[in-house]
Symmetry: C2
Subunit: 344 residues, 2 copies
DNA sequence: GCGTTGGCAGAAAGCGTTTTCTGCACAACG
DNA sequence: CGTTGTGCAGAAAACGCTTTCTGCCAACGC
C-alpha cells in the first residue's frame, strides 16, 4: 500500500502522511531548510527513504520557474564540429547541475526558429549554434530567446553574447603557409552557402588575395562532408591548383581519398589542408595540415556565458573571439614544378 | 501594457482577459477542442497572436503528466558510435514531436544510476545506451526507469526491450575473412573491460577458436579510441600476428597510423580490421575492412520501441538483434609468408 | 406551457512542488 | 501576571496549464 496518490507515483503527500507532517514540512526538509525540528526532520527523511521518494522535477520547475536545463540548436548533429560543441557544453553544464536538451534542425533554416522557440520555453537558456537563418530573422527572435548565447554568429540584438572563431584569420594563415611552401595557385573548396563561417573564410581569402596579388585563388563550390571532398576531385584538378584549402577536415579527407584513388600523391603532387583539427586529422594518411579550433572549449565557454546570463540578468557578457592555430602536418609540402590544368 | 501576470511572461490568463473569455476556453481553443463557438475561437486566436502567446510547456507537462521528452544516457559522448545512436534517436523522436535530453556518464558507472534516474523523472521514457553498471544493478533499477529501452545490453527485468548488435558473430565473420586470406596468427585488440559489447566479441572469438584450433589468437589489452590503437603497435608486433582485429574502427585507425609510422605496410605486412563502419572507415588509407553496424538505425529503432512502450503500456516489445555486415575493403590482404615475432 | 435535453462557457479542482502567511506555544520581559 | 517576541509547523496560495463539473440558455417534444 505504498502508492497513495492517484498517479501511481509517490509524491510529497505520501511522505507527509507517512511522517505525520504537512507537505510544507516535507518540502522544507528536502530542501535543507533548517527551521525545522531535527527530530521531525529525521522522521521525514526516514519516511522519504522508506518510500523511495524522489521529488517530481516538473512540479518543482513550475513552482521555481526554472528547469535546470538548457537547450542547444544545431544545424546538423552529424557534423563532428557540432558534436564537439555539444560535448563541451554538456560536460560543463553537467558540472553545474544542468542538463542539455538537443534540437537538430537538419540544415532546414525555417525549422530553426520554431525549434529554438520550443526549446527555449522548456529550458532556462539557449545556445544557438551556427544558425542558418537570416540576420534579420535572427535579430528579430533573439530577444525572445534570451538568455541566449550564439556560436559562430553575431547579432545586433542586445544582451546576446557571441562566441566566434576567426575563420578569416585561419584561412589566411593556411594560405600563407602554402605560399611559403612555394604554391602560387590555390583553390578553396567552399562550404554550405548559408554558413556564416563559410562567409568568414571567404572574407579572409579576399584579404589574402589583396595582400598577395601574385597568387591565384580559385573558388570551388562545395559542402561540409566527405562526399563533397571526394566528389570535388575533378574540379580541383581542373583548377590547376597545387594547394587546396578545404572547407573543413571532412572535406579534406574526402578529397585526399579521391586523389589517392586517382594515383596522385599528397603532398607530392598536391597539398591539401583542412580546418577544425578534428581528432581524426592526426590519423589520416598523410596526417592533415589544418587550423585547430578549440571546439570543445567553445562549448564549455558557451555554458559559462550562458550561466552568467542565467544567474545575473545584468551581467553584460561580451562574448569572445577564438583564433585558430595552424597545425602543420604531412599533407602539405613544397610546391611541385608548375602544373598545368589537366583539362582545357 | 502587454504583460499582466507577475512573472513577466504572458500566460493563458492574459489571453483570456484580452479575449474576454475564461482560461478554460482559451485552453480549449489552443488545443483544437471543437466544442467552442467559432466566433469566440477566432477572437481567442486573434488575442493569442496579438499577444504572441506561447503555452508554457512546464505547466502543460504538469497537467498532462507527460513532457514529450525522452532521455538518453551514454557512457561517452565523444564516441562516434554513441553519437550516431543519439543522432538516429533524435531524428526519429523529432518526427513524432519528441525532444531528447542527453546525459553523459563519462564512463563512470556509479554516475549512471543517478543520471538515469534524474533523466527519467524529467522525461516520458529513457534509452540506456551500453550501460557500464553491473547486471545486478541494472536489473534492480530497470523497473523504476520504465518505459525503458536498452541498447547493447540485456536485462532480466520484465518489459524492457533490448536492441543488441551481434558483435560475437561480427568478429567471427572478420576472423573467418582473415583466415580465408591465409592468416593463421591473429590478434584481438580488446576494448574497455566493462563494455558488454567487448565481452560479446570475446565470446565470439572463443567460438571461433573452437572451430579453428589451428589458428592462433592472441588477446591484447586495449581501449576504444585512437590512442589505444596507436599505442598498441609494439604489442601487436610482438604478438607476431599478421591479422589484427581491432575493437572498433577508431582503434584500427590509430593502429594503422602507428604501423605506417614504423614503415610497415597495411595490408602488405599486416592486415587490420575495425568494427562499426563509421563514416570515416571509407576514407582511411588504406580504406578499412570492418563489420558494418547500422548504428543510426539502431537509434531510430530505439525510439520506435520506446514509443510503443509510451503509447501502450501493454505492448510487449521483444527487442531485436542486429547482424553486422562484413565490409571488405583495402586494409586486409593475403597473409605474407609466415612472420616471426619481432621481439623475443 | 412545462419538463427535458443538449450545446457551450465559466468555475473550480487538480497536477506536485515551493513559499508566504497564519497561528500556536512557549519563553522572556516589564 | 500580562504583553511582546520568537521558533516552528500547518494552511493556503501560487506556478500555468488541462479537464471535469456545474450551470445557463435555447430548442425541442409532449
Amino acid at each position: 500500500m505504498v502508492r497513495k496518490s492517484a498517479s501511481g507515483r509517490i509524491g510529497i503527500a505520501d511522505v507527509a502522511v507517512k511522517a505525520g507532517v504537512s507537505h510544507a514540512t516535507v518540502s522544507r526538509v528536502m530542501n535543507g531548510n533548517f527551521t525545522v525540528d531535527p527530530e521531525i526532520a529525521a522522521r521525514v527523511r526516514a519516511a522519504a527513504v522508506e518510500l523511495k521518494y524522489q521529488p517530481n522535477p516538473v512540479g518543482r520547475s513550475l513552482a521555481l520557474g526554472k528547469t535546470d536545463t538548457i537547450g542547444i540548436v544545431v544545424p546538423d548533429l552529424a557534423n563532428p564540429t557540432f558534436q564537439a560543441i555539444l560535448r563541451g557544453l554538456s560536460r560543463a553544464a553537467a558540472q553545474d547541475g544542468y542538463r542539455v536538451l538537443i534540437a537538430d534542425s537538419f540544415e532546414v533554416s525555417s525549422e530553426e526558429t520554431i525549434l529554438a522557440g520550443e526549446a527555449r520555453r522548456r529550458c532556462d537558456g539557449l545556445v544557438l549554434c551556427a544558425p542558418r537563418m537570416s540576420d534579420a530573422e535572427l535579430e528579430e527572435i533573439a530577444p525572445s530567446l534570451r538568455p541566449l548565447v550564439l556560436i559562430n554568429r553575431t547579432t545586433a540584438a542586445a544582451g546576446v553574447p557571441s562566441l566566434v572563431v576567426d575563420y578569416g584569420q585561419g584561412v589566411q594563415d593556411i594560405a600563407e603557409h602554402l605560399v611559403e611552401l612555394g604554391h602560387t595557385r590555390l583553390a578553396f573548396l567552399a562550404g554550405p552557402p548559408r554558413s556564416a563561417s563559410n562567409n568568414l573564410r571567404l572574407q579572409g581569402l579576399e584579404a589574402f588575395k589583396a595582400a598577395h596579388p601574385q597568387v591565384e585563388v580559385t573558388m570551388l563550390e562545395g559542402g561540409s562532408d566527405f562526399d563533397t571532398g571526394h566528389g570535388a576531385v575533378d574540379a580541383v584538378l581542373e583548377s590547376g591548383a597545387t594547394g587546396i584549402l578545404a572547407f573543413n577536415d571532412l572535406v579534406a579527407m574526402g578529397l585526399m581519398s579521391g586523389l589517392h584513388e586517382r594515383g596522385l600523391d599528397v603532398p607530392g603532387d598536391i597539398s591539401v589542408t583542412g580546418f577544425d583539427d578534428i581528432p581524426f586529422a592526426k590519423y589520416t594518411t598523410p596526417t592533415l595540415t589544418t587550423a585547430a579550433v578549440p571546439i570543445t572549449e567553445l562549448g564549455e565557454q558557451a555554458w559559462h556565458q550562458l550561466r552568467a546570463l542565467i544567474r545575473n540578468e545584468e551581467s553584460d557578457a561580451p562574448g569572445s573571439r577564438y583564433q585558430p592555430k595552424l597545425e602543420v602536418r604531412a599533407s602539405t609540402g613544397p610546391a611541385k614544378a608548375a602544373r598545368t590544368a589537366v583539362h582545357g
